[in-house]
Subunit: 224 residues, 2 copies
DNA sequence: ACAGGTTCTCAGCGGTCTCTCAGTGCCGCT
DNA sequence: AGCGGCACTGAGAGACCGCTGAGAACCTGT
């Protein structure tokens, strides 16, 4: 099992490395967020241990970035005791578990094994774009804490846009994937985009659902 | 699995060859950038290990050249420890991963395997010419950090020029590929080049979009 | 059969984009 | 210096695109 440990404190990092190697893990170290992000991208690890306080890029952002890239490697976050960061935020960003310093090896190893058992690549149930979330299984949509009611067609359209958030999708692509036809009047897409805007953007003064004239639509990943 | 190792230091090259062969790779060696570029072009390798400091053509330029030719073979770059070159630049130029000397075989082989798993031919999302970037999927253009708004026709024209940056493209070529006609008044190209200059060059005091009198236009690859 | 909700069509509008045209400027050649 | 040709630019007309309100068709459960 390959573990990536991202931790800037040298002594802590070395201790973790020794401890985990003794447990039979293959351990790589990264000493700042940038290196950690890079290694996590290319290294094909089974699990990542990620400190929050890091030089260059914070652990938060490393995690966020990886998830944005559809990289679902299990992540265990480490935080200092003083609660400057709220660990719940970490879980929101896509971490799978967390530990507060100081902690014992026994606990760390137990948590890691639990993560490995639960298995990697479990794509999270919900889609996110900024504070907009959509849960395909439960058919629920909300902006922040506020739930939003959508009709089936509206839901399907938003789901498609969220699966391609930040990309521009053309009306014909949308027709093909959401309406399952290709020779329909594209105006129906315009109408439904209008409906969606009135439900997911306008009440919150957002502009996530953007028109790209001559090309299609783009759902801004950061909520616009 | 076929690996091309481009490395001028004889002892290092031989050591890499032996080490990788022991891992079951078929290894070819090149001892300068020119030879490396040539072999990479014709050799159909699964992965290329490319030193940065090379005689004749630097590893940077080998990489850049290959990518410019739409050759997306996975490239792992090697750099000396002293950070004369910033490895981030290497990634910008289209390398897929990098290692800093000295490194262990274990790490090298792990990274190579990771690269091979991830697979080649993952065409990079964005086009670059100096600090000008264009992302076809996201339909975004920016000069440095500054985003630029373009109309569909302007976008299509700039995309075509960027795909042929540093080359001279004639107005008739442009008409054929961007307007999809060939018997239109070439003046429309002049008009749109003018529009583009006002958006991507003038506000930044650049001159990337150059006129080649009697021949066409050239987009300078380094931002002019 | 009816009510309520959903899907889709249609036509009009406002704004943007595209392209043409004509006049001007610039370059290279003799 | 003068000339011819090539490239640039401002203005404007028309086409095109996307948005919206209204309403018809449809579907579903009572």
């Amino acid at each position: 099992m390959r573990v990536l440990v991202v931790e800037d404190e040298r002594r802590m990092a070395a201790a973790l490395q020794r401890g985990l190697q003794a447990e039979g893990f293959a351990v790589d170290l990264a000493h700042d967020g940038e290196e950690g992000l890079h290694l996590a991208r290319v290294g094909d690890y089974d699990v990542v241990v990620l400190d929050i306080m890091l030089p260059r890029i914070s652990g938060y952002n490393v995690c966020k970035q990886l998830r944005a890239e559809e990289n679902w490697v299990p992540i265990l976050m480490l935080s200092a005791k003083d609660g400057e960061y709220d660990m719940a935020d970490g879980l929101d960003l896509g971490a799978d578990d967390y530990l507060t310093k100081p902690f014992s090896y026994v606990v760390l190893v137990a948590r890691l094994r639990a993560l490995l058992r639960r298995g990697a690549n479990r794509r999270p149930a919900v889609l996110r774009a900024g504070d907009l979330t959509l849960d395909p299984a439960r058919r629920r949509v909300s902006r922040g804490q506020q739930p939003i009611e959508l009709t089936p067609r509206e839901f399907a359209l938003l789901e498609y846009l969220m699966r391609h958030h930040d990309e521009v999708v053309s009306k014909s692509e949308i027709l093909e994937h959401v309406w399952d036809t290709f020779d329909t009047d594209p105006n129906v897409v315009e109408v439904y985009v209008g409906y969606l805007r009135r439900k997911v953007d306008a009440p919150f003064s957002r502009n996530a659902l953007q028109t790209v004239r001559g090309a299609g639509y783009r759902l801004a990943g950061d909520g616009g």
